[in-house]
Symmetry: C2
Amino acid sequence: MMGPMDNGSLYSVIPAGGSGTRLWPLSRANHPKFLHALTGTPLSLLQATSMRLAPLSNPETTYVVTGVAHAAAVARQLPELPNGNLLVEPSPRDSCAAIGLAAAVIVRRDQEAIMGSFAADHLVKDEPGFVETIQAAVDGARQGRLMTVGITPTHAETGYGYLQCGDADHLDGVRQVLEFKEKPSHEVAVAYLASGRYLWNASMFVWRADAFLAELQRQQPILFEGLSTIADAWGTPRQDAVLGEVWPSLPKISVDHAVMEGAADVGLVATVPGDFGWTDVGDFDALGQILVAQEAGDNAGNVIVVEPEDSPVMLRDTTDSVVVAHSGRLVVTLGLHDMIVVDTPDAVLVCSRKRAQDIKSIVDDLKQRGDGRYA
Amino acid sequence: MMGPMDNGSLYSVIPAGGSGTRLWPLSRANHPKFLHALTGTPLSLLQATSMRLAPLSNPETTYVVTGVAHAAAVARQLPELPNGNLLVEPSPRDSCAAIGLAAAVIVRRDQEAIMGSFAADHLVKDEPGFVETIQAAVDGARQGRLMTVGITPTHAETGYGYLQCGDADHLDGVRQVLEFKEKPSHEVAVAYLASGRYLWNASMFVWRADAFLAELQRQQPILFEGLSTIADAWGTPRQDAVLGEVWPSLPKISVDHAVMEGAADVGLVATVPGDFGWTDVGDFDALGQILVAQEAGDNAGNVIVVEPEDSPVMLRDTTDSVVVAHSGRLVVTLGLHDMIVVDTPDAVLVCSRKRAQDIKSIVDDLKQRGDGRYA
């Protein structure tokens, strides 16, 4: 493994999208999860993501891709980010368009740029371990591979995608990725865990921008052409006109489906196994687990997320529960175990932790019955 | 037993006091439980109490005794009640002063008046059965006894006081009351239940007003004198001056301690055993039980109390729970069993039904830590 890279030599891209419906009613379409302080500190997930990347990237080499609805909030949460590094999508076109736009803009600035993509709404416990893993991924990317980060599974999780890996192919443990696997059933997840050949797909990518764009051109020529047209106009007076004309025509597809699966088929994808206390904060149960692991819980295993900070909360004989007090009202619990309580200005949710993943379906049902204003 | 009495021949007194802290945060010092619609209908407990007495009393023979803070709310909830029948206490002096004031006012209107006292915050399932029981009590009262109603216990309840009874002393089942018993421990309650000689004290009283006042004079001469002075001035221009001067000096004591226990000692107290689905709605668990018994629950055993009526509530995979939605906000539950959720404009409570009685201590603690504004 090479020594630490110079601070700022990695171009970091943070796709900040997705509303996180399993974190409803805290996370909403108009105030998605990455804007919330779900980190055990006053930092939002987006701010924590940006801080975590500080040893790798400068503000000048950090980009955020987000929707029009969240551009102002992102700009205010990250005051150091140069205006030009905030890439605003006119409409959601899934992750390949978002990450591809960043790659096309970056490669025009630096033809040899190595870029990484890191979701805005993940949490990491061991930040030095994270940086070390990304540095190893940068080494792999220099050799022209599309690098991913594979999290060593701790249990048969059904909420994540998996990477099917080959043997470790050299001393620093980088492994070839044979195949991308969708979220498995429980039985399949158990078999994955037992085999030792599957890692969680953390949706982190590190590559030379030109290497990624070459694969994009090979597999998704229409998307590549569209993004190239936009990137050519980027920073010129024509930028908004071209963006407005071309963007809506771009294929809506995830970067995994569009590029990574096909690249794995031709042996281009590798992964650095990582074990740095990663979670995607997918639901309130996961939030509770990570904050307890970070010692941000109380001594009864409860996690309390409060905003404003002086909101009154009283937990009595309550254990292993997640309480989110976001309305400024008094929240009192008595005799609870393994529960989720989320209080917001216009909606309150009380839910068994075991059912945390099913909160998504509540949001779907609210929309269906005409209560979409709560979604 | 005599035939049904004429409608209106009973003077009904409704003491409307007590904040019901075990129903916090719904019931508050400034909006106590008797003003709330906890009846499975849009009627408040106070309104339901008044309706239940309609076969026995006219509005003209119905009196409500309440505090200054609630006089306006009571007057508006009971528009039929004559102005003069709303007896407003300048300050709380416990139940003997409240009921005694009514007795003293009523006896000056009708020297042979038979009056009953019925708490404003109880619920009754079988209303004809209730009326029949009170009619039997009126028969006993005519003979000069201080009558109570003793509820046939269905379980070893520790939240109620008990009446220790003698044998049934004539055909209609009236029993002498040997002793009033405070709320028992669980072991004692089990023994009471097994003995068949103990009934729940429903805090309902029926007596000749003059018979009650004679006992009051014998046992509590200072209280009797004070109330007589006030009642003599009642309805005159001096009323408020006398009330303001005398009321604060009255002994603060419950009617049980002040009169009934001593009257039982001299053999003056009897009870009519009643079995009409009575509860004092002491806590949210009791509320859930009575509303389910009244078939006001859903088919999963849940009870939902909503105000305003169109407030959105969604219960998913939730059983045997009590949900009170009183803020107009959306309330969603998922995967709950045997729980209490109470949502109000400034406070939300989530509580195991098993802990319903301990909600009282929450209110005490709020006051102690300086959050009395929520009490």
